[in-house]
Amino acid sequence: MSLEATARPRRRPVWSSARWRGLALQALVLIALAAFFYDLALNTAANMATRHIVSGFDFLWRKAGFEVSFSLIPYSGEDSYARALMVGFFNTLLVSACGIVLATMLGLVIGLMRLSRNWLAARIATAYIEVMRNVPLLLQLFIWYRLVLTPLPQARDAITLGSASLSNKGLTLPAPVFGDGAWWSWVGFGVAAVAFWLLSGWNRRQREATGKSMPVWWLGALLLVALPVLFLFAAGWPLSFEHPVRSNFGFRGGMTLVPEFMALLLALSIYTAAFIAEAVRAGVMAVSRGQGEAAAALGLKPRLAMRLVVLPQALRVIIPPLTSQYLNLTKNSSLAVAIGYPDLVSTGGTILGQTGQAIEVVTIWMVVYLSLSLLTSAFMNWFNARHRLVGR
C-alpha cells in the first residue's frame, strides 16, 4: 500500500512548478520584446521611405561643408563628415581630460577644506558645495561663458603680447610645427616615464628600508619635461612655430584656444569639483579616527599624517564615487552644444541637421559614450584593484 503511494505521487499540474512558470514568463518577455522591436523596425522603415532617407553609414564619406571653430586635427569644410565627427570626438576628449584633472585637484582642496579645523574655511567649503550642487550646470555654463567673454575685446582691438593675442575669438598662440625627427621627443618622453617609474620604485624600497625619502614627484616632473627637450635638441631641433596672422575677421594660422573651451572647462570642473569634494569628505571620514591619532602619536605633522596615513586609506572609499563623477563630467561635456563648442554632440547635431541621418548619428553618439564609460570604469577598477593590493 505505502509502496504504491510513493511510486505514484499525486500529479501536480505543470504550471504550478516555479521552473515552468519562469520559463513561460521569459518566453513571453522575449516574444513581447521581439514584437516591439519588429514593429519599431517596420515603422522606422516606412517613415524613412516616406521621408526619402537612405539608411546606412555611407553619408559619412560625403563632404561636410561646414567649418568648426576649434579642432585638434587639421580640418576644413572640404573634409568628410567622418572627419568632422573625429574633430568633435577629440574635442570631447580634450575638454573631459582637462576637466577631470582640474576638478580632481579643486575637489580635493575643497573636500579637505570642509574638514578643516578652521571654522571659516569649513563654512566656505560647505557654501561652495551647496551653491554649486544646487544650481543647474547649464546655467553655470551660461554664466561662465558670459564672464569669460565679456571682458575680452573685439578681434581688431586684441590684446597682444609678442605673437600671442587675446580677444573674443580666444587666445591665439603660435602653433608648433614638428619637422622630421620630432618623434625623438616622444622617445625622450618614454625614457623619462620609464626612469620615473624605476626611480619611484627604488625610492619606495629605500623608504621602507631606511625611512629616507627623496622628492620623487618633483624629480619626475623635471625628467618628463627635460628629457624630451634634450632629445629634441640632440635631433637638431626640428621644431618651428607658425605665427598667427591677423585677418579681417580674426586670425589665420597659429592655434587658438576658443573662449567656448575655457567656459566649458571652467563650468565642468567647478561643478564637478563640488561632487568630488563630497566624495573626498566621505572617504576621509570613513577612515577611523584612531589612524589619524596614531599618526599624530608617531610625531607626524597633521599635513603629513593626512598625506601618508589618512588619504591613502580614504582613497579606497573615494574611488568608486570618483569614477562615477568622472563619467558624469565626460557626459556633461555634451552641454557644449548650448554654447557652440564643437564637441561630438555639437558636430553630430550639425550633421544630423544637414543629412537627416538621425538613427546613424545617434548610434554613433551612443557607441562612443558607452565605450568611453566602459573604458573609464575599466581603468578606475584596475586602479582600485591595484591600490587595494598595495594597501594590504
Binding site: G22, T44, N118, P136, L139, S333, V345, L352, L374
Partner: protein
C-alpha cells in the same frame, strides 16, 4: 656614591593656558589656532568680504530699480537691472500661456503644493489616499486644466507653455512616469530569470551610459521615426518621454540599493509564513526598500529638476530657456541685463534644489533614528 637632590624652591609659574571657554576661546580654537591658521582665516575673510560687498554693491547699491526699457539700465556703472525682471517675471513663470487663462497653471501648482505638503510631513494622516491622488488623479486633473479642450476650457497648445510651468511639468511628469518604471526595472535586475535580468541590465546601463543631451536629441528626432504613420507626439511630450526613460534607469539603481539593504531574513520569513513570492515582494520587501531609498530618489529628483534645463537644446523654453531667450529682447539690451537674469535664475533654482536636498537630509536622519530603535 650618589648625592640626593631635593628641590627646595618652586618651579617658576607658567602663564595659565589660553581659555577655551567663551567667545574668545572659541575664536582662538576655531579661527586663530597658530599663525598659519590665522593667516588663512584673514585671507578667506578678506575674499569673502570682498565677494559679499561686490554682490551687495551690484544687486542693491548700484542697481537700477525702476524704468521701462534699456535707457534706464544702460547708464554707465549701473548694477543689476531690476525693471527687466519686474516686466518679464510673469512670462518666466507662465511662458506664453494666454493672459486670461493663467489662473489654470496657478490652480495646478496650488493643488499640487496642497497635496504634496501633507505627504512630506511625517505622521500626517491619509498618506495612502494622498499618494494615489498624486500619482493617478492629479496628473489627469493637471493635464485637463493645462491643455484644456474639455469642460469648456479653452484649449492651449503646449507650444505656448513655458517658463517655470514647463520646468515643473517636465520634472513632475518625469518623476511620476520614471518612479514605477524604475521600480519594475530594479525588480527585473534582481530577478532570477536570465532573460528578464539581462533585458533590465541592458536597458539600465544603456541609459546611464549616455548623456542626457543625446537622449533629448534622440527623443526629438528619432522618436517620430519609430511611431506608426499618422501618429504624432508634440515636442514637449517627446522630451518628457526621453527624460523619463533616462531618469527611470537612475531610479532603478537607487531602488536596487534599497532592495539590497533589506535583510534576506525578511524574504525568508515572509515565505515561511506562506506568502507567495509576489506577496513577499509587494508587502514586505518593497515597502522597506522604498523607505530606504527615499533620500536617493529625492536626490535623483533634484538632478532631474536641474536637468530639465537641457530641454532648451531641443528648443523648448523652460525657466532657464525663457530667461535666456528674453535676453535677446532689444528693448532691454543693456550690459547688466543678462547678469540680472542669470542671477535670478540661479536664486530660483537654488531655492528649489536646496529645499529638496534639506528634505532628503531630514528623511535620512529620520530613517537612521528609526533604524536605531
Amino acid at each position: 656614591m650618589s648625592v640626593a637632590f631635593v628641590r627646595d624652591r618652586d618651579a617658576p609659574l607658567r602663564p595659565p593656558p589660553p581659555g577655551t571657554a567663551g567667545a574668545l576661546g572659541w575664536l582662538r580654537a576655531n579661527l586663530f589656532a597658530g599663525p598659519g591658521n590665522s593667516l588663512l582665516t584673514l585671507l578667506l575673510g578678506l575674499a569673502l568680504g570682498w565677494l559679499a560687498w561686490s554682490v551687495l554693491d551690484w544687486a542693491v547699491l548700484r542697481a537700477v530699480w525702476t524704468g521701462s526699457g534699456r535707457e534706464a539700465c544702460a547708464i554707465p556703472d549701473a548694477g543689476a537691472c531690476w525693471p527687466f525682471v519686474w516686466e518679464k517675471f510673469p512670462q518666466w513663470i507662465f511662458g506664453f500661456y494666454p493672459l486670461d487663462e493663467r489662473w489654470r497653471p496657478l490652480a495646478v501648482m496650488a493643488i499640487g503644493a496642497a497635496a504634496l505638503a501633507p505627504m512630506m510631513v511625517p505622521g500626517a494622516p491619509g498618506k495612502q489616499a494622498n499618494a494615489l491622488f498624486l500619482l493617478i488623479a492629479y496628473p489627469a486633473i493637471a493635464y485637463v486644466l493645462l491643455a484644456g479642450g474639455a469642460f469648456g476650457l479653452e484649449p492651449v497648445e503646449t507650444s505656448s507653455w513655458g517658463g517655470l510651468l514647463v520646468t515643473l511639468v517636465v520634472a513632475v511628469t518625469g518623476i511620476v512616469i520614471s518612479l514605477p518604471l524604475g521600480i519594475l526595472l530594479a525588480l527585473g535586475r534582481r530577478s532570477e530569470l536570465p532573460v528578464v535580468r539581462t533585458a533590465s541590465i541592458v536597458f539600465i546601463e544603456l541609459w546611464r551610459g549616455v548623456p542626457l543631451v543625446t537622449v533629448l536629441f534622440m527623443a526629438s528626432v528619432m522618436l517620430p521615426l519609430f511611431l506608426p504613420g499618422g501618429v504624432t507626439l508634440d515636442k514637449l511630450m517627446r522630451a518628457i518621454i526621453g527624460l523619463s526613460l533616462f531618469a527611470s534607469a537612475y531610479i532603478a539603481e537607487a531602488v536596487r540599493g534599497g532592495l539590497q539593504a533589506v535583510a534576506k531574513g525578511q524574504t525568508e520569513a515572509g515565505l515561511a509564513l506562506g506568502l507567495s513570492r509576489g506577496q513577499v515582494t509587494r508587502k514586505i520587501v518593497l515597502p522597506q526598500a522604498l523607505r530606504i531609498s527615499i533620500p536617493n530618489i529625492v536626490g535623483i529628483f533634484i538632478g532631474l529638476f536641474k536637468d530639465t534645463t537641457l530641454v532648451l537644446v531641443v528648443s523648448i523654453y523652460d525657466f532657464l530657456g525663457i530667461i535666456n531667450a528674453g535676453l535677446q529682447d532689444a528693448k532691454w539690451a543693456a550690459p547688466q541685463t543678462a547678469n540680472t537674469g542669470y542671477f535670478v535664475a540661479a536664486l530660483v533654482y537654488f531655492a528649489f534644489c536646496f529645499a529638496m536636498s534639506r528634505y532628503a537630509l531630514f528623511t535620512e536622519a529620520r530613517l537612521e533614528q528609526a533604524g536605531k530603535r
